[in-house]
Amino acid sequence: MKTIFTRPDSMTEKVTHYCPGCTHGVAHRMVAEIIDEFGIKDRTLGFAPVGCSVLIYEYMDTDYQQAAHGRAPACATGAKRVRPELIVYTYQGDGDLASIGTAEIIHAANRGEKFTVVFINNAIYGMTGGQMAPTTMPGQRTTTSPMGRDVLSAGHPIRMSEMLSTLRTPAYVVRASLHTPYNIIQSKKALRQAFQYQMDNRCFSFVELLSTCPTNWGITPVGSNKWLEENMLPYYPLGVFKTPDDE
């Protein structure tokens, strides 16, 4: 019998702790597939965030470091600078990257660090129990915005890809989404391109993946995909914001 689908070699056999309908599993798997496809498992170093995906180091079968909340881009800078032969990536959620870690991500991008960032934007804090994130949509109810996000006091959602693409330093900045099979395929293409730029030592690469959090959104997994499409896509447009070939 011919095997047509199997666990990527770069993933461990550990069962993930993610909730039903969560998109972290898909994102993890795509990163692992790319590591396999490029044959870089023995020279890949990942950085885990603080948040739901902190345990990514349990699931990926490569060298890993767990970083303090928001600091993964600084840690990755340290490691990539001293071991440029490694393929280094951070995997960060929106609380980690767009709130507590804004200084670290902006300056890593601005220095043009040659590593890859996988940024999961699901518009909410997951692990701590559904609090408002900088990416939470206007009017979106969370446990710390029970009346809905009030943009007059909490500001508008931060669009990280747009913000980072304003930097002069060459980079690859792209936003994709995980809410349909078509978009998942597009997401994988973006991730592959990001790792390719790193392997070519071209530039900093940043892939924002719009994701769902059915548990904390309080919507079914299928309903969450629809919610993402109706609420997040108009505000967070998909596409390539910047490539190192610009200018």
């Binding site: 170093l45 180091y57 890993y64 767990q66 840690c75 340290g78 670290e104």
Partner: protein, 357 residues
């Protein structure tokens, strides 16, 4: 090799390179920005890595990432910057990463001032960050000693897989003194393949982590850390005795630059026939507790005199070490004022006379 006349801050940088350190991450802050200035040029010459970070938070985290990747790495800062590094310090002890931190202390609290002080003693020895952890804390008193301990600090941090911190004050970083960088022999870095994230080639993957969701495992890990610190206390205590051989009646305790002033004061008082000695802790952690406790038991010792540039932080450790068997008196200047020899002489004379009553 001939001695070089160097500023303390530059000697820190040069000694790190002589120690085989290849990476330095920092954010400028007075009074030690010259370390970054020196290394931005010098590391490029030797093919090392220097990044000027966006903050002390990031600088320390870069040290974390590079240490986890198994290279010799360090950072330097001064008091307010060190406060920002507290997060990483806790993570590094929790992930058992070797590295060297340097705090050139300035006066606090808050933005304080830029002049020399010793008021970060508690921050250093009690652990600035959260959790049950300690760094080894070393307090040199001359530029030569600063260079020597920079060279020793890296292998020490690797021996325990725990960061080592060198503390000085603004004086030691800013003054120039002759330095011989060959006084201490550099040691090779031990093999890191067993734990560092260098790429999992022909070995199982390595993980740098301080998260334990199982409380029993976390308790076990904390016991493991405790054992390391107890071993440190058994093996690494260093101190200097000055004028301690003829049964002094008053024993001074001071470290760093302050100890040099106390030595001058003792010389003045010795010329008058006053039997005063000095115990200078070189390791503030582990603290030379047993040495001081033994002194406190000696009948000829009538009292202790602590001199610090703080409101009395090491003072607490001296009281604890001596069990206050003999009176412990205290003299300090603070806020960036360095005690001058004359006022130190007057303080010690008065304290000595008290022991004679």
């Amino acid at each position: 090799m001939a001695k070089l006349l160097m500023k303390g801050a530059e000697a820190i940088g040069e000694a790190a390179i002589r120690a085989g350190c290849t990476a330095y991450f920092a954010y400028p802050i007075t009074p030690q920005s010259e370390v970054a200035e020196y290394l931005s040029k010098r590391l490029a010459e030797v093919g090392g890595t220097f990044v000027q970070a966006e903050s002390e938070v990031a600088a320390a985290q870069m040290v974390y990432g590079a240490a986890g990747a198994g290279v010799r790495v360090f950072t330097t800062s001064s008091s307010p910057g060190v406060s920002l590094m507290a997060e990483t310090m806790s993570y590094m002890a929790g992930s058992e990463l070797p590295a060297v931190f340097v705090n050139i202390m300035r006066a606090g609290p808050g933005l304080g001032g830029i002049l020399p002080c010793q008021s970060d003693y508690n921050q250093a020895t009690r652990g600035a960050g959260h959790g049950d952890y300690s760094f080894m804390i070393i307090a040199p008193s001359t530029v030569q000693e600063l260079a020597d301990w920079m060279i020793r600090a890296f292998p020490l941090s690797e021996k325990y897989r725990n960061p080592v911190m060198i503390v000085g004050d603004g004086l030691i970083a800013q003054m120039m003194e002759p330095v011989d960088f060959d006084a201490v022999k550099a040691e090779e870095m031990p093999d890191v393949e067993g734990w560092a994230t260098t790429g999992a080639k022909n070995r199982p993957r390595n993980l740098i982590n301080s998260l334990f969701l199982d409380p029993l495992k976390l308790e076990e890990f904390n016991h493991h850390l405790k054992e390391k610190y107890e071993r440190m206390a058994r093996e690494e205590v260093r101190y200097e005795n000055y004028m301690m051989d003829d049964e002094p009646e008053l024993v001074c305790v001071a470290y760093g630059t302050t100890a040099r002033i106390v030595k001058t004061a003792i010389d003045v008082l010795r010329a008058e026939g006053l039997k005063i000695g000095l115990i200078r802790p070189i390791t503030l952690l582990p603290f030379p507790k047993d040495i001081l406790r033994a002194e406190s038991e000696k009948p000829h010792v009538k009292g202790f005199a602590v001199v610090e540039m703080s409101n009395g932080q090491m003072l607490d450790d001296v009281k604890w070490a001596t069990l206050e068997r003999k009176p412990v008196s205290f003299f300090s200047r603070n806020g960036g004022i360095v005690p001058n020899p004359e006022e130190t002489v007057e303080f010690l004379r008065k304290e000595y006379e008290r022991t004679q009553k």
